[in-house]
Amino acid sequence: MTNVGKARSERCALTASSLVFSAFFLVPLTLVAAAAPDSSLIPSIFSPESTPAHSIHQLSLLVLAISAAIFLVVVGLIAYAAIRFRRRAEDDGKEPPQVYGSNPVEVAWTTVPLLIVVVLALATARVIQEVQNAPQPESALDVQVIGHQWWWEIRYPKLGILTANELHVPVSSENRRAPTFIELRSADVAHSFWVPRLAGKTDLIPNRVNKMWMEPTRTGLFLGQCAEYCGTEHAKMLLRVYVHTPEEFERWVSEQKAIIARNPEVAAGRLVFERTACVNCHTLNGTIGDGRFGPDLTHLMSRETLGSGALPNSPENLRAWIQQPDRFKPGVLMPGMNLTATELDQLAAYLATLK
C-alpha cells in the first residue's frame, strides 16, 4: 500500500473509532430513557426502595464515578497515542527512537491504582459490614423462604402463615421500623432470591441456611426472580413482593389466617380435589390434602399469579393450568390432571372460593 493510501485508511480508522466511542456512551443513555409503560415495575438496581439496596446503590455510584474517571483518562491516552504517534504519509522510513522503559513512570502508574484500590476496599468493607452484620430489631418480621423447582415456598413462622411465590411485607418508616428478616433454604437445587429494588441477591442452597433482610420504605409491588440457574424452568421462577402499609399488612395477615368455612355449594369440587392426585403435592387446610411438593393452596385466590408468575390468576387461566400446566411452563413438575369437563367445572368452582 502506498503511503497516501495508508494515510487515508488511517483517517478512516480514526473516524470510525470515534464513532465507536460515542456509541458506547450514547446508546445506553438513549435506551434507559426509553422506559417501559410502568416504570415502577422495572426491577432496576438504580431505583432502590429499601435499605440494603439503597446502601448498595450509593456504593455503586462511587465505584461508577471512579471507573468513569479511569475510563476517560486511559481511553484518552490510548486515543492520543494512536493519533499523535501514527505513521505519517511523509514518514522518512527511519525507526523511531527506542525507549526501553522508565522506572519512575512505572512506580507512578503502580502507586495511583494501589491508592484507588485502598479507597475502594475501605468503602466496600464498610458496606459489607453494614449489610451483613445488621442487628435484627425487635420489631422485625420473620420470614422463611424455601426454594423449589420452580417456585417459592413462603412461611411466616410467628404468624403461622404458609403461602407461595408472592411475599407480603410491611413498609418501614422512621418512627415505625419494620424490616423483614428472611431465612433462605432450598428443598432441591441451588436458587437465588433477587428483588433488585429491595436488596441484593442471596442464594438458597440445600443443606444450608442463608439469611438476608430488607427494609422497604415505599409501598407497592416489586418484581424479582430466581437468579441462580436451577433447571428447566429457571426462567419462570418469578417472585413478587408486595409492600403494604401497616394496616394493609395486618388485614392481609388476618385474611391469610382466616379459616375458610366449608361451602356446601362447592362440596363436589372439594371431593374432586381430595380424590385426585392433587392432594399428594398440595396442602389445603380443611381437606385431607397435606402434600409439600407443590405450593399451599389454602388461600389460592389471594394470589395474583399462577405457576410462580407464569400466568395471571384468572378463572380461565386456572382451568387451563390444571388441565395442561406444561402449556404455560414447559417442563413444570405438575402433571396435567386429565379431568372431565364436569370435574374441572366443579374443581374450579371450589378453588374460586379459596379467598
Binding site: E10, S44, A81, Q98, V105, I128, L184, L223, T232
Partner: protein
C-alpha cells in the same frame, strides 16, 4: 478398470491426510489445534446466535426451555474448553519453539497425544447430542450450565447421561491440557537457544510459560471435582449429595479455584499476542519488559486467591467476602500496569494500522472496559446486585470476546504469513475488523443494561414490561454484524490460502526469531541453531550499529 493417474492422486491426498494424523511436528499440531478451535468457534457461535434469536423478543417460542438450556451449557463449555484452550495451545505449540530457536517441543509424541486427547474430549462432549439418552427423547446435550452447580448434576436432578458426557469430555480434554502444558514448560525451561536467558525471552514465551504453569495447577482441582462427581453419580459417594449431608458449596469452591485462574489462563496468551504485535506495529521495543514480566507473574499468583468472588451470594461471612473483594481488586493493579506499558510502547512510535494492530487497539479499549466492570463486580455489595445477571454476561464477553478473541484475530493476521507463506487480504481484514468491532459493541455494550435492570442470565424467555425488550432486540441485532464479520474472516482465510499475496520470511519487519526462518518454516525450523544477544535478535541484525544488547 484401472486409472493409474487418478489412483496415484487419490493416494497422495490420502497420504497427505495421513501425514497430518501421525505427525509429531509442533507446527502441524499447532495448526491443527487452531483449526480445531476455529471449527468449534463456528459451532459455539451458531449456538449463541440461536439463543439470541430466542431472546430477541419477550415470551418467544423459537426454542423450548430444554433446548435453550442445552445451548447455553454447550456454548459456554465449548467456548472455554474447545475454542479458547485449543487455540491458545495451538499458538503456543507453533510459536514457542520458533521463538526460542528450538527444533520442536521437548516431547513431540506427548504433544500429539495431548492434541488427540483434546479432540477426543470435544467429540465425546458433542456425541452426547445423539448418545446421551437424556430425559427428552433419544439423546440430549448437557443442560446443567458450564459450571454445572451441584446438586443440579446429581442423579436425582440430572437423569440420563448428558451430565456424564459433560464430565468425561471435560475430564479427558483436561488430561490433554496437562500433557501439553507440561510439554511447553519443559521446552521453555530446557530448549532455549544459546544466549537466551530467561530475561531475554520474547514476552510471548514468558507469558506462555506462566500460562502453562497455571494450567498444571488449575487442572488438578477441576479433575478432582469431576472425579468426585462421577463417584457421586455412580458409586454412591456423597461429596455433593446434599440429601445425604454433602455440600453444594464444596463443588463451587472446587470449580472456581479452577475457573477463575482459568480466565487468566485464557487471557494471558491474549496479553502475549498484544505484547508481540503492538511493539512491531509501533516500531518500538516493548516498554518496561521486566515490569511486564513481573506484572504477569503477580497476576498469575494473585489469581489463585480470588476464586470466591464468584460466590459472593452463597452466604460467606463478612470477613470472607471482604478478603475476596480486596484480593480481586488487587488484580487490577498489575493489569493496569500492563495496559499502561502497552500505551507506553505506542508512545513516541510510528504506528502502522494494519489489521493485526487494529485488533490490538480494539483489545486495549475493550480490555480496559472489562477491567473496570471487573472492579465493579469485585465490590461485593455491588456484586450482590450484579452477580448472575446479564451484566456479568456482558463483562466476561468483554474479556473473552472483546479481549481474547480480538487478540486471537490479531495473532492470526500477524502469523498467517509465517505459517502459510501468504498474506491475508488487508482489505477483507479491515472489513472483518470494523464489522466485528461494531457488532461486538452493539451486542455487548447494550447487554450490560438489562443486567442493571434486573435480568438474570440463563433464562430462556422473559416477560414484557420490565424494560428489557428493546435492549435484548439490539443485543440480538449486533449478532448479524458479528456473524457477517466471521464469514468475511473465513472467506479471507480460504481465499488467501490459494490466492494470497506471497511473502518473504519477514513481511512485518519484525524482530523475533520466527521471522528469521522461511515462511512456512522447514520441519527442522532452523538450519543452524541461532545464537542471540538481546530480546530482539532481528533488530540487532538489522541495526548492527545500534543493537539492543548495548542497552538491555
Amino acid at each position: 478398470m484401472s486409472m493409474p493417474g487418478s489412483s496415484s492422486a487419490a493416494r497422495s491426498v490420502f497420504e497427505r491426510l495421513h501425514s497430518w494424523v501421525v505427525t509429531v511436528d509442533h507446527k502441524k499440531l499447532g495448526l491443527m489445534y487452531i483449526m480445531y478451535g476455529l471449527l468449534f468457534f463456528v459451532v459455539a457461535g451458531v449456538e449463541a446466535s440461536l439463543m439470541r434469536i430466542q431472546l430477541a423478543v419477550p415470551n418467544n417460542h423459537f426454542l423450548s426451555p430444554q433446548v435453550f438450556n442445552q445451548l447455553f451449557t454447550m456454548h459456554g463449555t465449548t467456548m472455554v474448553f474447545l475454542v479458547g484452550m485449543p487455540i491458545i495451545f495451538g499458538f503456543a505449540n507453533y510459536l514457542v519453539p520458533l521463538m526460542i530457536g528450538a527444533r520442536d517441543l521437548a516431547f513431540p509424541r506427548l504433544n500429539a497425544f495431548g492434541f488427540w486427547l483434546s479432540v477426543f474430549g470435544g467429540l465425546l462432549l458433542y456425541f452426547s447430542i445423539i448418545g446421551a439418552m437424556g430425559m427428552y427423547g433419544a439423546g440430549s446435550a448437557p443442560d446443567v450450565g458450564w459450571f454445572a452447580y451441584s446438586p443440579l448434576t446429581s442423579k436425582a436432578f440430572s437423569r440420563g447421561h448428558s451430565t456424564d458426557y459433560w464430565t468425561l469430555g471435560v475430564l479427558v480434554g483436561g488430561f490433554g491440557s496437562i500433557a501439553t502444558a507440561a510439554n511447553i514448560v519443559t521446552t521453555i525451561v530446557c530448549l532455549r537457544c544459546p544466549g537466551m536467558t530467561l530475561m531475554k525471552m520474547p514476552l510471548l514465551v514468558w507469558l506462555n510459560l506462566l500460562m502453562c504453569g497455571m494450567v498444571l495447577m488449575v487442572m488438578s482441582p477441576l479433575t478432582a471435582a469431576q472425579i468426585m462427581l462421577l463417584l457421586d453419580r455412580y458409586l454412591g459417594a456423597h461429596f455433593f449429595d446434599t440429601q445425604a449431608g454433602g455440600s453444594a458449596v464444596l463443588w463451587q469452591h472446587f470449580f472456581w479455584i479452577f475457573g477463575h485462574p482459568e480466565v487468566y489462563v485464557l487471557i494471558i496468551p491474549g496479553f502475549a499476542f498484544a505484547s508481540e504485535i503492538i511493539p512491531v506495529f509501533s516500531r518500538k521495543a516493548i516498554f518496561g519488559y521486566p515490569v511486564m514480566v513481573g506484572a504477569t507473574v503477580t497476576i498469575a499468583f494473585v489469581s489463585f486467591g480470588v476464586w470466591a468472588h464468584h460466590m459472593f451470594c452463597v452466604g460467606m461471612t463478612s470477613v470472607g467476602n471482604t478478603f475476596f473483594a480486596i484480593s480481586t481488586m488487587l488484580v487490577g493493579v498489575p493489569t493496569g500496569i500492563k495496559i499502561f506499558n502497552w500505551i507506553g510502547t505506542m508512545w513516541g512510535g510510528k504506528i502502522r494500522f494494519d489489521t493485526p494492530m487494529l485488533f490490538c487497539l480494539g483489545f486495549l479499549f475493550q480490555f480496559l472496559i472489562a477491567g473496570l466492570t471487573g472492579v465493579m463486580l469485585a465490590v461485593t455489595p455491588f456484586d450482590w446486585q450484579l452477580s448472575d445477571s446479564y451484566f456479568v454476561v456482558a463483562h466476561f464477553h468483554f474479556v473473552l470476546v472483546g479481549s481474547l478473541l480480538f487478540t486471537i484475530f490479531a495473532a492470526i493476521y500477524y502469523w498467517f504469513p509465517k505459517a502459510t507463506g501468504r498474506m491475508l487480504s488487508e482489505r477483507l481484514g479491515k472489513w472483518h475488523f470494523w464489522l466485528f468491532i461494531i457488532g461486538f459493541h452493539v451486542t455487548f455494550d447494550t447487554m450490560h443494561i438489562p443486567g442493571i435492570l434486573g435480568m438474570p442470565r440463563r433464562i430462556y424467555t422473559y416477560e414484557a414490561g420490565r424494560g428489557w425488550e428493546t435492549l435484548n432486540l439490539i443485543c440480538s441485532l449486533g449478532v448479524v454484524l458479528q456473524a457477517a464479520a466471521v464469514l468475511i474472516f473465513v472467506w479471507n482465510v480460504l481465499r488467501s490460502l490459494i490466492k494470497g499475496q506471497r511473502t518473504g520470511n519477514d513481511p512485518w519487519d519484525a524482530w523475533t526469531l520466527e521471522w528469521s526462518t522461511t515462511s512456512p518454516p522447514p520441519e527442522y525450523n532452523f538450519a543452524e541453531r541461532p545464537v542471540i544477544r538481546s530480546r530482539r535478535p532481528l533488530w540487532d541484525v538489522k541495526h548492527p550499529t545500534d543493537p539492543d544488547w548495548k542497552y538491555e
